[in-house]
């Protein structure tokens, strides 16, 4: 822990950057995969790099490639992008108790780089008492730099790239997030919340429109959390 009070500084940002750097190395591999796929789909090199730099959300970028054609349908693009990225709404909300304590410009500046991995790390840290928002921001920077650099590499490397899946790299994020989940509390209440979230996400996967399962599962788990309150004698 480096800050007991909520703040955003260079030291925390650097720490966050270093913490997410090992994982970001794998993000490079996915950036390469995206760059390759983008060029094969027909995006220009500048479009591929700009998309990674501005959108910075891998799953929705791959989904956009599927929609890419001469006339790209705008409404499906908006809906797909929103559905895949709607989990950010929940991730941001979960950090609200901490980010609300910094001025608005900083608050939304930080959130520009929120992504699965740095959110999970930051939330775990904040629950353990860390208050430096640089963890989130620096972690996001590491992921962003590697995502964009990977995309660029994917454009210039045209052969000799091993299939990330054959190396098991498609499982990096899943395994990483799993350790984050397991690092949290494991009591009956959490087990029930997780079971409800898991069951709902699977039902949504088969019954609800595509890409809504993460939000559906998370909201269901949240509702259980709202009605089954924790016994309070711990620091928030």
């Amino acid at each position: 822990m480096i800050s007991a009070e909520v703040c955003l500084d260079k030291r925390g940002t650097w720490l966050g950057f270093k913490r997410l750097l090992p994982l970001s190395m794998f993000v490079v591999a996915f950036g390469v995969a995206f760059g390759l796929a983008a060029v094969q789909t027909g995006l220009s090199k500048s479009e591929a790099v700009l998309m990674s730099a501005f959108v910075f959300a891998g799953a929705s970028q791959f989904a956009a490639l599927e929609l890419w054609q001469e006339e790209i349908p705008l409404l499906p693009l908006i809906l797909t992008t929103f559905a895949i990225n709607a989990r950010h709404l929940l991730m941001g909300a979960s950090l609200y108790p901490w980010v609300r304590q910094v001025p608005v410009a900083k608050r939304y500046g930080l959130l520009t780089l929120i992504s699965d991995a740095n959110w999970a790390v930051a939330l775990q840290d904040y629950r353990q008492g860390e208050r430096n928002l640089g963890i989130l921001f620096g972690g996001g920077l590491a992921l962003w730099v590697c995502w964009v650099a990977g995309t660029f590499l994917g454009l210039i490397l045209t052969q000799g790239i091993p299939d990330p899946k054959a190396l098991g790299l498609d499982m990096v994020l899943g395994c990483f997030l799993l350790t984050m989940a397991l690092g949290g509390k494991k009591d009956l209440r959490h087990l029930v919340i997780w079971s409800v979230a898991g069951a709902t996400s699977l039902l949504a996967l088969y019954l609800l429109p595509a890409n809504t399962h993460v939000v559906a599962g998370a909201l269901a788990g949240g509702l259980v959390g709202a009605f089954w309150l924790e016994d309070y004698n711990e620091p928030g």
Binding site: P22, S46, E47, M51, V55, S60, Q61, E70, I78, T81, F82, N85, A86, R87, H88, L89, L90, M91, G92, A93, S94, Y96, P97, Y108, L111, A120, L123, A166, G168, D170, M171, V172, G174, C175, F176, L177, L178, T179, M180, A181, H190, W194, V196, A197, G198, S201, L205, H213, V214, G217, A218, L219, A220, G221, G222, L223, G225, A226, L229, E230
Partner: protein, 103 residues
């Protein structure tokens, strides 16, 4: 379509995606600023944040191949055993890669 138009169309797509994604990145915190924080809201947020992880991971396991499932299972077991993330993640990836190589 001339190359100029194509670039504009691509640029439009990127702009739209950027905007939509920023709405999702900012929207949660923005909405929360109108919600009074009480114990129920706190319970909701806490329950929801762990649930995001589960709702991401479980469908990954169900929709993935056997290697993906074994990989997550390996990470789970190693993490419970050694209680540190890096060896658990490493073991999971190794499992996926070697399963796909050998089978």
């Amino acid at each position: 379509m001339s190359p100029d138009n194509a670039l504009a169309a691509g640029g439009l797509v990127i702009a739209v995606m950027t905007l939509v994604t920023l709405v999702t990145r900012y929207g949660g915190v923005f909405m929360m600023s109108f919600v009074p924080i009480n114990k129920r809201v706190e319970g909701f947020i806490n329950g929801m944040s762990g649930s995001v992880l589960i709702a991401l991971i479980l469908p990954m396991a169900v929709e993935g191949d056997l290697a993906a499932r074994l990989s997550l299972l390996t990470t789970l077991l190693v993490f419970l055993l050694v209680k540190t993330p890096l060896p658990a993640i490493g073991a999971g990836i190794l499992m996926a890669a070697s399963w796909r190589y050998f089978f």
